[in-house]
């Protein structure tokens, strides 16, 4: 069958129609991005407008209270800080050690396959399942109870895949000549790792750790599941201070103390029907967002500085 050849006008019309579709799609794409930007603006704007009246120094130094005007986030941000400390102390050694093993020591056999598959799977597990795991194992089987220690370990397991992956990426970026040069002068594998690989990979590892901690600080579900309380009007005991007449707190008593964290405080205030607490929730939400965003910004800045300092 023979088509009649298209006339020039018909070709031009086809091209114009194609270009118009391109332009429409570009507009749609920009619109979708704009929706995302709009959501961010609405969210932050709303929190700032609603919560600004409560954002003063008293907010950070007052405990939660039934009276909205007096409720503050002292126990929440202290709790978050302490839990993050435990998380970092648990996740960093574990994650870096695992990353170093997988990159430097592991042979390509089925055991390594299983470990790598597990790490990928764990990254996709819903966070509340980590809470269930910790409830069964840390709270009851190990007997750590509903404490800061349990929360820290839970979140450490949660961010472990992030730390492992960023350690591996950081180590992979180190050129082989460093490793080979070290081995050439007679260093063992561990000496190479300890004195060359890990120090050079540190900025990348730190970036990953900070991103992981930024994620962990906003996690609510696992912490609720292990039993963090929503109304706490005291701080964990400071070591070596007196907690009751004649009894002073031990060095690690704070680890076993009941606690709350920022996201749970926000959840508690958001769930109350009293509109006065919405103001508190907005202010606390804003503080949490500032925490998370500044941690992400530090991580990005670190990554940028690291790229500049690389001399290979």
């Amino acid at each position: 069958m023979q088509h009649a050849a298209l006339t020039t006008e018909e070709i031009r019309a086809l091209i114009a129609k194609g270009k118009m579709k391109d332009t429409i799609f570009k507009a749609v794409g920009l619109l979708c991005l704009a929706i995302g930007l709009l959501v961010i603006f609405l969210l932050v704007g709303d929190m700032v407008m609603r919560g600004s009246e409560r954002l003063n120094l008293a907010f950070f130094t007052e405990f939660a209270s039934r009276r909205a005007g007096q409720a503050g986030i002292l126990s929440a941000w202290v709790g978050s800080l302490l839990v993050m400390t435990v998380t970092a102390f648990a996740a960093v050694p574990l994650g870096v050690a695992a990353g170093v093993y997988l990159e430097e020591y592991a042979k390509r056999n089925w055991i390594t396959e299983i470990i790598e598959i597990n790490i990928t799977n764990l990254a996709a597990v819903p966070s509340i399942v980590y809470g269930l795991l910790s409830l069964g194992i840390f709270v009851y089987a190990f007997g750590f109870g509903q404490s800061i220690l349990t929360a820290g370990l839970t979140l450490a397991l949660l961010i472990l895949p992030i730390v492992i992956v960023s350690t591996r990426e950081a180590i992979r970026a180190i050129p082989a000549m460093i490793r080979e040069g070290s081995m050439a002068v007679g260093a063992t594998r561990w000496q190479t790792c300890r004195y060359h690989i890990i120090p050079y990979a540190m900025p990348g590892i730190l970036t990953g750790v900070i991103i992981g901690l930024a994620r962990a600080i906003g996690e609510t579900a696992p912490i609720i599941t292990i039993g963090a309380l929503t109304f706490i009007a005291f701080l964990p005991p400071v070591p070596f201070t007196e907690v009751s007449p004649g009894v002073s707190a031990g060095l690690f008593d704070w680890l076993m103390s009941p606690f709350t964290v920022m996201p749970i405080q926000i959840f508690n205030w958001t769930s109350r029907p009293d509109p006065a607490f919405e103001v508190n929730a907005a202010a606390a939400g804003f503080v949490l967002m500032v925490m998370v965003l500044s941690m992400n910004a530090v991580a990005i800045w670190l990554r940028y500085k690291m790229r500049k300092n690389i001399k290979w």
Partner: protein, 311 residues
């Protein structure tokens, strides 16, 4: 030290023999590092162990048939019903709403960023998406309850204060960055030669994007969609705050309902003695959740293998 002839020099094996401890300490360190790597396997084993053992206790008191077919979920009442479909319906409806928003929007953004956008737009868009992805979910929950619901109530006046629709929409927005960045990576790894061949035949950019690039990148796109589904199914706080925690067997998104995850949170907020039937329900619910995500992950693996392209 000076040597008068070659036989005076210390033999290499002598020197190393003094450092035989080196080998022992090397082995020890290797085992420690292996133990750290094995923690990931232990975590998975722990999750399976905890969920399965508590669920076994649970299923000694409740039959599996009842669990799967009962239409009420009232585990803490005197007349206790344990129909998991009530919670599953909430999970599926909210995930569906979320994905109905996130998949089109995320894919469009990914196509736009990889095929159309110039450098300046990408430099602005990437931080926006990273920002969106970094917002804690409890803040999204606040957003859903206190901003999106009143807005929706202006459009749908009969919308209740808690609804799956409002929570699902915000969940969708939260998932968009995942889909957008993973899909964009997949599309950018499609070699230019495929695109150039299409342009050489006279296609427009849109035509190339939809008919050449997207099919070629489909395996990566499928991976991102599966990740998004897992995120949606496992999301907790947005639903706990904005969808209400009332178990409700419904397929209508304009009603409040509880999901598997928000039920677990609701129970954890209360007081449940260790070992009671109520305590065990959260593990049975958790096991159901893991089964659902496992099914989607297996589907995702199959899809990726089937559509994997070798360029």
């Amino acid at each position: 030290m000076t040597a008068n002839n070659a036989s005076d020099l210390p033999v290499v094996s002598d020197r190393l023999a003094k450092n035989a401890m080196r080998n022992v300490s090397e082995r020890l360190i290797e085992m420690l590092l292996f133990a750290a790597a094995a923690v990931s396997v232990l975590t998975t084993v722990g999750i399976v162990y905890v969920l399965v053992t508590e669920s076994i206790h649970f299923f000694q008191n409740v039959s599996i048939v009842d669990f799967l077919t009962d239409t009420q979920w009232t585990p803490l009442f005197d007349d206790a019903h344990f129909g998991i479909m009530v919670l599953v319906s909430g999970t599926l409806v909210s995930s569906f709403v979320a994905l109905a928003v996130a998949i089109p929007m995320g894919t469009i953004i990914a196509i736009y960023l990889s095929e159309f956008a110039n450098g300046k737009v990408r430099e602005v868009a990437k931080p926006i998406l990273e920002l969106l992805g970094g917002i804690p979910t409890i803040v999204f929950g606040y957003f859903a309850l206190l901003m999106v619901t009143p807005l929706l109530q202006k459009i749908f006046p009969e919308l209740p204060g808690f609804s799956l629709l409002s929570a699902g929409l915000v969940m969708g927005i939260m998932i968009v960055p995942y889909i957008a960045s993973l899909s964009e990576d997949a599309m950018r790894s499609v070699p230019m030669s495929l695109r150039e061949g299409s342009y050489a035949m006279g296609s427009t950019r849109l035509h190339t994007a939809i008919h050449v690039v997207v099919p070629a990148a489909f395996s990566g796109l499928a991976a991102s969609y599966i990740l998004a589904i897992s995120r949606a199914v496992g999301e907790t706080m947005i639903l706990a705050v904005a969808a209400g925690m009332q178990p409700n067997l419904t397929w209508n998104p304009m009603e409040p309902a509880a999901t598997i995850t928000s039920y677990i949170v609701q129970v954890a907020l209360g007081d449940l003695p260790h070992g009671s039937i109520g305590y065990q329900t959260i593990f049975a619910a958790g096991l159901t959740l893991i089964m659902i995500t496992l099914c989607f992950n297996i589907l995702g693996q199959w899809l990726r293998r089937k559509f994997r392209e070798n360029y």
